[in-house]
Symmetry: D3
């Protein structure tokens, strides 16, 4: 049930029976010469819509501008400051509880949002307002991703390219995949550490064109496979969460001294 398309009596019927909401979140930021800047929010929305269409759970409108200052050197990257992002997501989440929502899944497709969504979820959990958890699509199918790609990403690589080929193929600049690969980099997070410290802050320090991996490995068919597998995971997560008793979602009391 996509909330923006429904009337209030229809949503009223939903919240009379259910207390789960799905909030899609992504970013609007550079994804190389071959992918659109909306890549992350396109993926998050497609997965959230598909999983809620299949299950009937409530899906809110997406939040499309996230925490992306690390991509700012590339034209078109949009972002809000991290505290502002957290407060925006926290506020809309708290207000969902006015209608009886007590469990939320943040369907996310931007790595830069993860820590912030976890922090918002913790705020809501710590004071017993609601139980909100972050779900990042590619962390739900790590085995499959490892299997189908040699160098999946992490950003603007074949993994995201395949997903957009499946979701909105017309937005992929198919003639620039080689340029994406040749002008980018292969990223090894561990190798980038200096004596244990992560020393870079901006994407441009690691990739001249903003992307990583071999984009020519992507196909719409692989994209479909990833999409289906991730959707299955998300559907399973929503059903698992829906089935949990509310008491299990609230924080435990302090240990008796």
């Amino acid at each position: 049930m996509y909330l923006p398309d429904r009337t209030w009596p229809e949503v009223g019927e939903y919240v009379a029976d259910e207390s789960l909401a799905v909030v899609p979140l992504g970013s609007t930021e550079q994804h190389g010469p071959h992918l659109p800047e909306g890549t992350d929010h396109l993926i998050a929305e497609a997965l959230a819509r598909e999983a809620t269409d299949r299950t009937g759970y409530l899906c809110t409108p997406p939040v499309r501008i996230g925490v992306s200052s690390h991509h700012r050197q590339f034209p078109g990257t949009m972002w809000v400051e991290a505290p502002v992002f957290r407060d925006y997501v926290e506020s809309l989440s708290r207000n969902l509880t006015y209608h009886g929502i007590d469990r939320i899944v943040y369907v996310n497709a931007h790595g830069g949002n993860v820590a912030h969504l976890r922090e918002v979820g913790r705020r809501l959990h710590d004071d017993g307002t609601a139980y909100a958890i972050e779900w990042m699509w590619d962390e739900s199918i790590p085995g499959l991703i490892e299997e189908v790609f040699e160098t999946p990403g992490p950003h603007g690589g074949p993994k995201e390219t395949a997903m957009i080929m499946h979701i909105a193929n017309e937005l992929v600049r198919a003639d620039r995949l080689e340029e994406a690969r040749d002008g980018g980099a292969v990223f090894d997070y561990d190798a980038e550490r200096v004596h244990g410290a992560t020393t870079f802050y901006d994407c441009i320090e690691n990739s001249p064109n903003g992307v990583f991996g071999d984009q020519t490995d992507a196909t719409p068919e692989i994209g479909e496979e990833l999409f289906e597998a991730a959707t299955d995971q998300l559907v399973a997560l929503l059903e698992w969460l829906d089935a949990r008793p509310v008491d299990d979602l609230m924080p435990e009391p302090p240990l008796e001294p």
Copy 2:
């Protein structure tokens, strides 16, 4: 040029020549038994996309959750607190200036956002960061609206109904227009004042079903007429703004004592 669909080199070309951005904003809130909760953001986005398609100006992704606590008694209404909304819009706007944007039009379709967008625009103007103005579609064509409807709104009335009939007719519950009218109210803002004071805070104080006016007056044809007229106004505004020298957009210095 819709930013989320474009790659960074393409946006790079835009900002090399142009410094104008359009930001669509709406709300997700009840619009009676006949209109979808996304009504306001659907209208804002349709107008922003149409006007930027015609002119080539940059259109950012929309902000779909705004300041709507006054509709909260109706299921599905989403909102963020007003300070949070302002900070979110301010932050994304300030960060647009990193790329050279110096003038912004907030294309808005929710009355509850107006004062807040004006305040954000003032913050950006007062310190000389950028020139950002709010544009509310129905305030651009007051004469036409008065002409085609007896009781246009203000909320969920024939004016918005006709617009959604034009933009996404499948989302209008055509069989509930009479119910919308009969269960709602005709609103006279001035009559509602008590000795000059506005005494209500929530929509439900004025309308039991959340909407106002006679929705049966709406037709897709009128919707198209309104849409075209408003688009023309927006296009003209963008061209007017694009043509202004940047010095005219910045605040005047203090008067010489």
Copy 3:
């Protein structure tokens, strides 16, 4: 009952019986070459004191510095940032409820404060702390104002000039009324819109000397007439508010789904 002039046992007797407070608010900002910078707070205080003297309701000390950055180019204009103003008014209002006050009227004479006082009132209402409403004197007598002046304002015009002539005639520079008129402007808010958008932020963009209308139309007699009419409205509002049951002032619960 003017709170600053009373002792705590006297205020204690008041709050044993009553729960209404009046808070006067204005600004300190330029009002042209002929009116004092305190014009707005002088008007607000005079009306609040008169109406509470007549009725016995509690009147707090005034807040004299408001949201006026749009007049800053003219020497002497004082202001605080909008968020600071809101927090100051909210804090003093919340703390009034410690003593049992549950309904507040903000007697206001500065247009730039209106939206902010409404927002503060909404904050207090939304969480059920108190019922606080904004009352702007000239909005209580629009018919009379239209009748007595051709060009009442909106700022520093004959309307405010007449009020100060009645309240503190010695502060009107009577020899500069023609200069005020000739060096100022006649303002047509609708004509100033550009394709529906309000495009100016500062007063100086519309008037070289900061004021509008024909100040020579003002007389002390008209000022008295306006003052009496507005006071009558305010008295009626206070009595109406005092009579309302507290339950009517609190927000309605969510609709049953």
Copy 4:
């Protein structure tokens, strides 16, 4: 020069020549059964107006609600939270510098504001915005106060009683001076310490009626003497401050390592 009574061209002439402003601040809080709740702001305003009348310096409108939660148990005490008070004073002070003001004296008559005004002054000083200092009237004439009273206060005692007798004798409940004394307390700050710690937070912990000392020692004549002596001190301070070169007011640079 009292800013609210002046027009902008007049203030313009002032700031063309001068850069000093005086800001009166007090509180609205209980002062026992015999003194009005406005006592502190009445004293601050009377001194600020007198000293600026004598010297011609600019006096802004007063801030009448300060940091007084420690008097809240007594009806009518008004207050704002300390961070809100600081931000309000900081904001109005920073904005004064737009007009060329670079030195400010906070004329204060409420002990509870002192630390907060010092903090605001430090903020303005630390970043080189302006030089603002707090002046508390009774700290300018400690010798005289010691001389004329055995038990001057600290709150609502003969010191403040005498001042109000001089400034606004009609507001003193002359028939309740003995009650004030007999129902209050004699306060010895050092004796109240417990092993070096200040252990109370609220006035009511130390005085059942909110005041201290022997109010029957107060006379209008003593009040006049105090008022004149304090005014002399304030005038001298303003002249001293006006004469200082601006470089002396700004923070020193870090020591050369």
Copy 5:
């Protein structure tokens, strides 16, 4: 009981019986050419540890960076902004109450922290969360300090020098005591006032090397005497506080009108 050295079962036993915690706080800031920058936190920690060792009360880890911008011109001075300091101490204090702590003593050795710790204590008290009070070691033994030194300080003088000689003699640069005295100043707070106003903000305005008084008067023996006397005071304070019924620690209700 020093919390960082204990396991959670051990602390669990403590909070089953007791509800008192001691929080040491100081600063890291210049203390002249002869004393280490950690002087204030070294003193606070030594006293807090000694008194809690003797009594068994819980001692938390110290907060070592406080409000010291007034010493910033001297290399090595560290500080946080005052609002940040308050929020940090408030947050850790509120969270202590999760474990049942309802009374806290801030053992402090930095004058610049005093007003801020009082404000934090007031916040906790005003809303009934906990009772937290500030204790500054030298204010517990003013008579003894007056007795043993002619010019005790206030900063980096013989008083603090003697204490560090007792606590950590190896950190005193014994060969620079005369330099400290000769390059510093004797400070008379009252003499520094200008017509009642405190006009300086930074230490460097009063002392070229950052310290005051005659450091050559300090000896380890005097340091021990001060340390023992202050410890006795602190022990007595902790026992006094532990014995108070919790109701005595909470704010009184408003007076019945």
Copy 6:
């Protein structure tokens, strides 16, 4: 060079030549029945002091209370809210730059601080104030840790037990190692995920006594080995950072469009 032990002239000499500072940070939180609550800050401080002793770089006092609400059910766990922690570290870091520091290493031993220190570092980097990076000791020697332990942690396991055995063996409750192991859990982060989502917020959800792994595998000798290896990494990081030109530490400009 440990800043708190030095005088300002000594620190002055340091900053004349160097611009690097090390800030140790940990937490005070439960570490099972066998380890002290200060474990994390003890480790951070020992490493920071050792590495700066060896190299001569400046070491500031530690921040001992961090972001630990996820351990709060266990008595004695202290914490500050995440935004407060970030602001505290940001403020002290910004103020270090007053003295010429332009590069900072946060020596950290608490996983719950990592994301927050990265965010603070990003804030300082984004606006070009300074280059600050987080270093977590165990991430510098992952190979060694894998080699010496079967189940290193992640919290209160043999890894941290061995470190405390080396640093402060007297604080390890040697007789409770088996209890720690038997009452705790073996943690598999990936296994804990539910369809890709991290679903727990509090430590107690995963371990009844708050710790993980087999603590009986720890020995002081292994602790020494880990300590030496991590110190070597930290020393190397400091030297690497010291050698970098300041321009390399600042953010890159936007790409030329």
